[in-house]
């Protein structure tokens, strides 16, 4: 593609470039790329015409939705395309096919579809329909937006009133990573950068335990969704509050998963579990920014001996988190992302993934707590929303990403694993341990 200045719509912000480096790493591992997915399980066939109209309206309001990702010199940009990509797809289950199998196959194909990132549409909406089950499956390329952004996009599609839809994207603040970085003078940025580097250096003194023990090359992403009942969800949240308090719900999920992994594979080599997790820079309930990534990252790490003691583990994670926020280490990742954007994707990816100490993978698993979703169940055009879940690609190793959200008072757990490093039987077992931990029955 021959790019002229007028073709450039937007430069990737440092957090976008961070997700792009991960996209590159996932592709280098032989997988599709850093795609995130968000499924809305619908009660019946929706109003397809209305849905399509809102998708079209949305893509016109936010032109990056139809852009192509291009590299110009060192940096990456969203650029106009000559032919806008198709954003909406329908998949109707043939009458003679089992609906569940058909939809699972389609979803698996969507998340594993390999396509050059320049060609890939930033976001696609797939409507899977059958006699009983209907799903709107949204897949996005991570530099286009983050999970909160997709929640906003779906909320946009679920907003009937046009005047209210116009409020999305306002106020136009630009990338929040840049807003936050703009608060620091250059010497403060460097100070934070060094602080962040030292912090990661300390984490790297312990070798991370990997969830799977396999030498087989990665082939494809699979996933397993587990939904807790309302009573189980209430019990898990009560446990979370008692164990880590109101300020540490995400840490509860992380700690439970560390313990579940340890119970599953107590002999896997390594010294500590280490989980990176992003936190969003948007204000809660804000309708902007919609596109782009607006996040920074933190790590939770716990040595194996501590993970084996439930009480000690949560006290440790809580103390670690409080210290990180007190020392502003949560914001230290911003200048690291800003500096990383000047590296080649390969160098950046290596820096992000590999421990300075052992040279091995730093993350034991990827984690994202999407929280309580704010999309009314009766707001989708022509259909109710029965449930939601997320799926995401992950590098291999670690080959495991755990995502959770709460919708209609039910906690939904999404285990994303790279085959053949992990398999469904292992994940089923992992879930049994995880459930016991969440419910406080894992002593």
């Amino acid at each position: 593609m021959n790019i002229k200045n007028g073709d450039i719509l937007e430069k990737l912000n440092p957090a976008d470039t961070f997700t792009l480096a991960m996209d590159e790493e996932i592709r280098r591992d032989g997988l599709a790329g850093s795609y995130g997915c968000f499924a809305l399980e619908l009660s019946n066939l929706p109003d397809i015409i209305e849905l399509q109209q809102r998708i079209t309206e949305f893509s016109q309001r936010f032109p990056v939705t139809q852009a192509s990702l291009q590299q110009i010199n060192r940096h990456f940009y969203w650029c106009k395309r000559n032919d806008p990509p198709q954003l909406f797809f329908q998949h109707l289950c043939p009458e003679d096919r089992n609906e569940e199998d058909f939809q699972q196959k389609i979803i698996s194909d969507i998340i594993n579809h390999k396509q050059a990132r320049e060609i890939s549409a930033p976001i696609e909406f797939h409507l899977l329909t059958g006699l009983k089950k209907h799903i709107l499956f949204t897949r996005w390329l991570h530099p286009y937006c983050d999970a909160r952004g997709v929640e906003l996009i779906l909320k946009y599609l679920c907003t009937a009133d046009e005047a209210q839809r116009r409020q999305f994207g306002l106020p136009d603040t630009g990338p929040l990573v840049n807003v936050q970085l703009g608060k620091y003078r250059w010497w403060q940025k460097i100070g934070l950068l060094l602080k962040g580097k030292r912090y990661i250096g300390i984490l790297d003194s312990l070798e991370s335990i990997q969830p799977f023990h396999s030498d087989l090359p990665p082939e494809r992403l699979n996933y397993m969704i587990q939904r807790l009942s309302e009573a189980q969800t209430e019990q898990a949240l009560r446990q979370a509050r008692q164990t880590v308090g109101l300020a540490g719900t995400s840490l509860y999920y992380i700690g439970c998963l560390m313990r579940a992994l340890e119970k599953m594979h107590p002999d896997n080599p390594g010294e500590a579990y280490c989980a990176p997790y992003a936190f969003n820079l948007r204000k809660q309930r804000a309708l902007a920014p919609v596109t782009g990534n607006h996040l920074s990252a933190l790590f939770a790490q716990a040595p194996r001996a501590i993970v084996q003691d439930r009480q000690k583990l949560f006290a440790h994670l809580k103390q670690q988190n409080a210290q990180v926020i007190r020392q502003q280490l949560d914001y230290a990742f911003l200048p690291l992302m800003w500096a990383g954007a000047w590296l080649s994707l390969a160098e950046y990816g290596k820096t992000l993934r590999l421990s300075y100490g052992s040279g091995k993978e730093r993350s034991s698993f990827w984690f994202s707590d999407v929280g309580r979703l704010d999309i009314p169940a009766d707001s989708f055009p022509g259909a109710g929303i029965n449930g939601v879940y997320h799926v995401c690609q992950v590098t291999a190793p670690p080959g495991l990403a755990f995502l959770n959200c709460i919708y209609r008072n039910r906690l939904t757990l999404s285990y994303n694993f790279v085959e053949p490093l992990g398999n469904s039987a292992q994940i089923e077992l992992l879930h049994q341990f995880m459930l016991a931990e969440l419910l406080g029955e894992g002593e």
Partner: protein, 79 residues
Amino acid sequence: MKKKLRNFIFQELVFVAEPEQFSDDDNLLEAGLDSMGIMRLIMFIENEYGVTLPDTEIEPDNVQSFNALEQWILRHQNG
């Protein structure tokens, strides 16, 4: 005190379309204050008011509104 808390929460943590309409008794948790936000808020309070808020007291009754937050801080300032 409440003015500073309002500025911090509405500028950094929670989006409210009309902050002036949000009363000191309105529910901050329902408005979207989440666990990460609470953590940041506590760090802000500890730096700003020189108090230490015990982990064991981080519960809805103490953080659910501006009035509740003020009472919580005052209890520790006076204690």
